[in-house]
Symmetry: C2
Subunit: 350 residues, 2 copies
């Protein structure tokens, strides 16, 4: 049990009722805008509410009504601009629907995720929007929150199977299609030697993107060389180091589909150091469309995921689930959009 803190004396329904000579029940009806109360009474009560500076105690109401007016939002990394935008979208939509957002950040640790979920669930959220920490499992999450609270999974699948009676909804990005679009675009630009760079294939999102890349290459009848697939951590720095692998052998790619924007920026850095100019000597695409993508030199062709819209969408999903607790669980694959900028140039003619 954790620390808690006393709050100052608060005005309650009883104070208002006493203050204007009606019963508690009547005041409650006024508060909820019931048509039952007489106009004159309503006016009197409302005046008294204002006069005493009454604030509604939603916790007490929720207790009695067995309802909830909050949704928990648990993110693996809030500081990432992608998730910050997402959170803003979630909060916006939840706020409009009269819900409040309970925030939890797990810092990509499944241990911390357990603690955070355990703490949040005690506050009785009506549902949870969860972008699982890397390496966390369905089983763990279920143990922390029980099978009764609705969940919308975002961005990632936690490991392990979901028991049949539990209905979680999902909102995922269309990774495969995104990577396919990028690859197709490069092919249309005239490239044939196209590499796929960055990310680790043990992550589901990376596997999906790789699949999209392969799909486009095969559809175009291009034979994919094994050394055109180079993995790296999904960070700028590690990508810059790993980039050498792309040019180690002959038959070097003229275009590179990158796992995400960070990796793409790392590659740009590495190219510059080798005296190659990204967006002229080598074409590049990213994934995410972070703010920086519009400002780098060259500006980066990438896939826009519209994180704020995704946030709104996740909120809509959980709200829909609350309205229809028994409906079939939904899996939404959010579209991504190719944003063509300078970095995806045609190949240089020899």
């Amino acid at each position: 049990m954790e620390s808690q803190t006393p709050v100052g004396r608060k005005i309650t329904l009883n104070d208002i009722a006493a203050g204007c000579g009606v019963s508690r029940a009547t005041v409650s009806l006024v508060l909820r805008g019931s048509p039952l109360v007489n106009k004159a009474t309503r006016a009197r009560v409302e005046e008294e509410l204002r006069r005493q500076g009454y604030v509604y105690n939603r916790a007490a109401a929720n207790l009695r009504r067995r309802t909830s007016s909050s949704i928990a939002l648990v993110l693996n990394e809030l500081a990432n601009p992608f998730f910050a935008e997402f959170a803003a979208g979630v909060d916006e939509t939840l706020g409009e629907a009269g819900f409040v957002t309970l925030l939890g950040s797990t810092g990509e640790s499944s241990t911390r995720q357990q603690a955070v979920l355990g703490s949040l669930i005690e506050h009785g959220p009506g549902g949870i929007i969860l972008s699982p920490a890397e390496g966390s499992s369905t089983e763990e999450v279920l143990a922390a929150i029980g099978a009764h609270t609705p969940v919308v999974l975002f961005n990632r699948e936690p490991g392990g199977p979901l028991p049949g009676h539990v209905r979680w909804d999902r909102l995922m990005l269309d990774n495969q299609r995104g990577a396919r679009l990028a690859t197709e675009h490069l092919i249309r630009q005239g490239h044939r030697r196209i590499a796929m760079f960055g990310g680790h294939d043990h992550a589901s999102s990376c596997r999906e993107r790789h699949a999209g890349y392969l799909e486009a290459m095969q559809a175009a009848g291009i034979e994919v060389q094994p050394h055109w697939r180079v993995e790296s951590k999904p960070t700028r720095l590690d990508a810059a180091h790993a980039a050498a692998g792309l040019f180690a052998l002959g038959d070097a790619p003229t275009a590179v589909v990158c796992y995400n924007d960070a990796v793409a920026f790392g590659l740009m850095l590495a190219l510059n150091q080798r005296g190659l100019q990204p967006g002229r000597d080598v074409a590049i695409t990213g994934f995410d469309d972070v703010a920086e993508a519009a400002m780098s030199t060259p500006t980066l062709t990438t896939l826009s995921t519209a994180p704020r819209a995704r946030g709104r969408q996740a909120a809509e999903l959980i709200l829909a689930r609350l309205r229809e607790p028994q409906s079939e669980s939904r899996a939404v694959i959010a579209p991504v959009e190719l944003v063509v900028r300078e970095s995806s140039c045609p190949p240089i003619q020899p």
Copy 2:
């Protein structure tokens, strides 16, 4: 009164009590780790808690104890990486102290801020960490939340005076010193025609930064031209539009102190479009040191504010206030640190 949503049947203390033949009160004592209960009983109860999958209802406990276990965090713009980091820091520290974060984002609108505060206060947070929306006033805020809930103001002062009996704490950045450091740095680089760009002077943080700029200029005996001060919204996009104003007249600046990093990036964009190379033709400094600043082209000289540490600090302040509700109100000015990167080049010799 807004929509709410029913929650599934929950296990309560009564279920546990009935399940192992003790009273509700005893189970409650077990939950709170009281030394009063017999060892054997405790074991039996704990087993039953596990067996039935009990989850603590903190709202009910808070109601009875008249305590709160949540803190509201209200930000003017969550999507800004600076505030996202800040929020992560806040949530981290609050979580460790056993509090949960209620999130609210106002999108820089004081109307929305009123609505958000009104909704959050109904959930009875123990305190509020508030980065006020532009143009909001102390009076408004006070009307929304009353005088009883502790407040930590971050980053900005809302307009208007604070009644004497209300104790709000403040955590501000050393804006003036930061802008002075940046300006002095540019002067040392050899610049004389230095502009101050972006932000609105009706915002306190902006006025302070402007003051720091003026201080450095005056100390160096440089006469400041009126057209070296150009305002804009503190966003990348608006700054890019407003940038033209800097070069409208002759005597154009060779260096620009920007209100924040977003504005600096907007300026870079605008410069590139005019065929000027930021970091070579024009020196630039920012403010905030967002992650992007280390990765832009050129990398951005800016003032590091360590937003995550600030978040932790804000959380500490509110926690301290909860422990000592009557203590004198505190005002902390957080130091900022100049981070020199590529963008603050010396002037080009004609």
